[in-house]
């Protein structure tokens, strides 16, 4: 999103909100999908296919990638590449899905597509073992490292309650579109790791988050840089021992995918697939309360696609 677009949209959203509040209840106002008023659905959930196939069906239901990426824009596709684990572990995002998303970005006219993560394991090993480096490069993306503090620039988080400042990867700051592509998995620290948690991989000092109320910081980060699109990969779901996983027996093949511009809604749907109530996850509850999105799926216009 260009700055100008952002401002116009924000103003638009502001007026809409004002008008909305005057006419409707707050809940109803949120139900109108403030963040992308033109989208036909607030959330698309797909089940039963291979990851790239589910993405193609899902994004088509949202009007195709052209609704999110304009010609000449630079895009960051942010998968979870945290761990030196093969795709079967479900610790990292499905590499075929990443390749398909990159392909769609280029088809929509993207100038550049960057792929990176601030990994937990050694980044070269994680990039290679996850299969994402090769898949993304083959699809034409620039796979860039996120391993050095010098690449991260300090930004303020004025609406953050705990997180007042964060060092964000310069490529995120310099790009037009951020597409957040987490894997749906268990997480020992945060409870679960979906879309909001995946944003931890665009910042440098994660230790600060852990030290200063992790759940609140995860929600705070959404106020800083809200992804333009969230695609949650629920093909292989690590049900326990996350986020790294101990064995492939921790994985349940759910063949699910959730696509939404509303990061809180996407996480709420992911929670359901994981087998938890959205409100039982600290950062989902907090983000909803902060008005960053809608965690009550019954208030949303959801398109369910079964393959």
């Amino acid at each position: 999103m260009k700055r100008r677009d952002f401002i116009t949209k924000s103003i638009g959203a502001g007026i809409a909100t004002g008008a909305g509040f005057s006419l409707l209840s707050i809940e109803e106002a949120f139900a109108k999908s403030l963040f992308n008023p033109h989208a036909p659905y607030d959330l698309v959930a797909v089940m039963g296919g291979e990851a790239p196939e589910m993405f193609e069906k899902g994004i088509a239901a949202l009007g195709g990638m052209k609704s999110f990426v304009k010609a000449g824009q630079t895009v960051v596709v942010k998968p979870n590449i945290g761990w030196d684990r093969t795709p079967e572990f479900g610790a990292n995002t499905n590499p075929e899905l990443i390749a398909k998303i990159v392909e769609h970005c280029f088809n929509a006219g993207a100038k550049d597509v960057f792929v990176f993560d601030h990994t937990c394991d050694n980044w070269q090993k994680a990039y290679a073992t996850s299969g994402i480096e090769k898949a993304a490069k083959d699809a034409g993306a620039k796979v860039i490292p996120g391993n050095s503090e010098g690449q991260y620039k300090s930004v303020s988080v004025p609406k953050g309650k705990q997180l007042k400042e964060a060092k964000v990867h310069e490529t995120i700051l310099g790009s037009d579109v951020l597409i957040n592509v987490p894997v749906l998995k268990h997480h020992d620290g945060a409870g679960v790791s979906f879309a909001m948690k995946n944003l931890m991989g665009i910042v440098w000092d994660r230790g600060f988050w852990h030290k200063n109320d992790l759940q609140q910081c995860i929600a705070d980060m959404v106020t800083c840089r809200k992804p333009d699109l969230n695609i949650i990969d629920g093909y292989r779901v690590m049900k326990k021992n996350g986020p790294k996983g101990v064995s492939v027996s921790n994985v349940s093949v759910e063949k699910a995918q959730i696509i939404s511009t509303d990061i809180v809604a996407a996480d709420a749907a992911a929670a359901k697939i994981f087998g938890k109530e959205p409100d039982s996850i600290g950062h989902i509850r907090i983000a909803h309360e902060m008005g960053l999105g809608q965690s009550d799926l019954s208030k949303l216009n959801v398109n369910r696609i079964r393959i």
Partner: protein, 534 residues
């Protein structure tokens, strides 16, 4: 004909220097582990230590590099010092630079041998080996010093240069290079190598191979062997005009033109003199062709016998120690404090430092590592660091696992594949993931979940075996619980713990490495979803 020996020597030595140097500087991990062997197996000190270590568990062919060197020396004298030893070659480079730098045409002159100094050092080093400590040998060993120069001093500069170039390229839109972490070594751990290397550079700048002929214990030892070499460089007294050209280029300062004699125990076989001589009057000749007219033959022979005996004695002392060490039954339980018993303050002290996987025990490791820091350079995560006092004074410079800087990658076995002295022995991936090099200790009173009552789980998140897992605490909160049986001691938990200054979770080194239990296979109770749950 023998004039071509010099260019040949230059080519070989440049390949050795560049190859060995690259292995120490490279951070990309592009060199296959086998390459390390090509360049290190002829390195005398690592090779002989490797040989002694493998004695205890059957002979390994890879450990015979030192025998090849001895054979070479018996044939041609100390060619090792000119063709193979990276520190020796580096000194030649420095000598050359100094020659160019000095305005006046600099020439070498014959200098008398530093007999007392060099033999005292050799004897001291040999005696020190009887204690089982390698400290003195490590301090002076030329290969290891070269390694430390590259790994500790030049590698950070190399990395910084790479980062500069990376940012320039990125400004132009190219991502061909990537930034790397510039390794910072504890400055105290650099004191000894800095001192020795300053000496080496200064000596070589001023006086050619003085380090090799006055200090280096290996130079002295090979010098003794070269006294009985089959081929030696000698004067053809009839043809020699005593012009002195050979002497002027001799970096060992061992050519006495007046006496027309060469102190072959100091000659490094560089062949510069062969090229310098206009009428072929100085050349390699078979020993029997000229009946022993070496300086004081009797004394030198006696010295050779004495020195060799001492050296052999010292090595056998070391080898007995190493065999005893290898055959010792594995000690089951070094003292580690139980988890979560630290109730008082924040200070957490490790019982032992952690030595790298494959090194079997702190005792084996410190008794076999010459601190060349090849593993420090090759470690992809940068967790290996030169120690200061982590293994005690006599273990100085030998690498340890620094979990404040990084942690050991679960399935990586790089260091075990490349160690030239068998201090870190080979491990397969399957063995590595069950090798316990340390055990986790949780300090509840330091933990954020306990002190702040907020979520964290950083330690458990990074744990590859879930030896650290989160169990219910208060309300939604979960707190770490440790299972030392399945802990491999990789240090990921300690590294990831955000608590400062004292961590809430640490890894105590195992004095003797053990086998960790396999994590229990868990099956999932629920079946995958049939339909949308919303």
């Amino acid at each position: 004909m023998q004039a071509y020996l010099k260019p040949a020597r230059v080519v070989v030595s440049i390949i050795m220097l560049a190859g060995t140097g690259f292995l120490f500087l490279d951070f990309s991990g592009s060199a296959p582990s086998a390459w390390f062997r090509y360049f290190t197996w002829l390195q005398f000190v690592p090779s002989i230590i490797d040989f002694l270590n493998t004695l205890g568990r059957g002979l390994a062919v890879t450990a015979f590099g030192f025998a090849a060197v001895l054979l070479l020396t018996l044939l041609f004298g100390r060619v090792y010092c000119s063709y193979i030893c990276p520190l020796g070659i580096l000194q030649d480079v420095i000598s050359r630079i100094s020659k160019k730098a000095k305005r006046k045409k600099s020439r070498f002159r014959f200098a008398p041998p530093k007999t007392w100094l060099r033999y005292s050092i050799l004897i001291l080093v040999c005696l020190s080996l009887f204690t089982g400590k390698l400290f003195l040998l490590n301090t002076l060993d030329p290969y290891s010093n070269f390694g430390r120069l590259m790994s500790d001093f030049l590698r950070p500069l190399y990395a910084a240069g790479n980062n500069l170039l990376t940012s320039l390229l990125q400004a132009m839109g190219s991502y061909a290079l990537y930034p790397v972490k510039v390794a910072v070594t504890d400055p105290y751990a650099l004191l000894v190598p800095a001192l020795i290397l300053t000496l080496v550079v200064w000596f070589s700048f001023r006086r050619g191979r003085l380090y090799c002929n006055a200090v280096c214990p290996l130079g002295t030892l090979l010098g003794l062997v070269s006294k009985i070499s089959l081929f030696k460089i000698r004067f053809d007294k009839a043809g020699c005009t005593r012009c002195g050209k050979c002497m002027f280029v001799c970096k060992s300062q061992c050519i006495d033109v007046k006496q027309q004699q060469i102190d072959f125990s100091r000659c490094v076989g560089c062949a510069d003199c062969l090229k310098a001589c206009d009428n072929n009057s100085i050349r390699y000749t078979f020993a029997s062709t000229e009946k022993a007219k070496i300086m004081q033959p009797d004394r030198s022979k006696r010295r050779f016998v004495m020195g060799s005996l001492l050296f052999i004695g010292a090595l056998s002392g070391l080898s007995i120690k190493s065999i005893a060490r290898n055959s010792k039954p594995k000690n089951s339980d070094p003292k580690t404090k139980g988890s979560g018993v630290n109730t008082g303050n924040e200070e957490v002290i490790k019982t032992h430092s952690v030595c790298p996987p494959g090194s079997q025990s702190i005792h084996h490791f410190t008794g076999a590592c010459t601190a060349c820091h090849l593993c420090v350079s090759a470690c992809p995560t940068g967790v290996l660091k030169p120690s200061f006092l982590e293994y005690g004074f006599f273990g100085m410079m030998q690498p340890y696992m620094d979990y404040h800087t990084s942690f050991c990658n679960y399935e990586c076995v790089r260091c075990t594949e490349i160690c030239p002295n068998g201090a870190i022995l080979p491990l397969t991936r399957e063995e590595k993931v069950l090798t316990q090099i340390g055990t986790v200790r949780f300090v509840r009173n330091n933990c954020i979940v306990h002190t702040d009552e907020t979520s964290c789980g950083s330690c458990s998140e990074h744990c590859p075996t879930k030896a650290v897992r989160m169990v219910p605490y208060k309300g939604e909160l979960t707190i770490p619980e440790v299972n030392v049986d399945i802990c491999v001691g990789c240090g990921a938990c300690e590294y990831a713990c955000p608590v400062t200054p004292n961590k809430a979770i640490i890894v105590d080194g195992c004095k003797e490495h053990r086998q960790a239990q396999k994590p229990k296979e868990e099956t999932l109770e629920e079946k995958p979803l049939e339909d949308f749950p919303f």
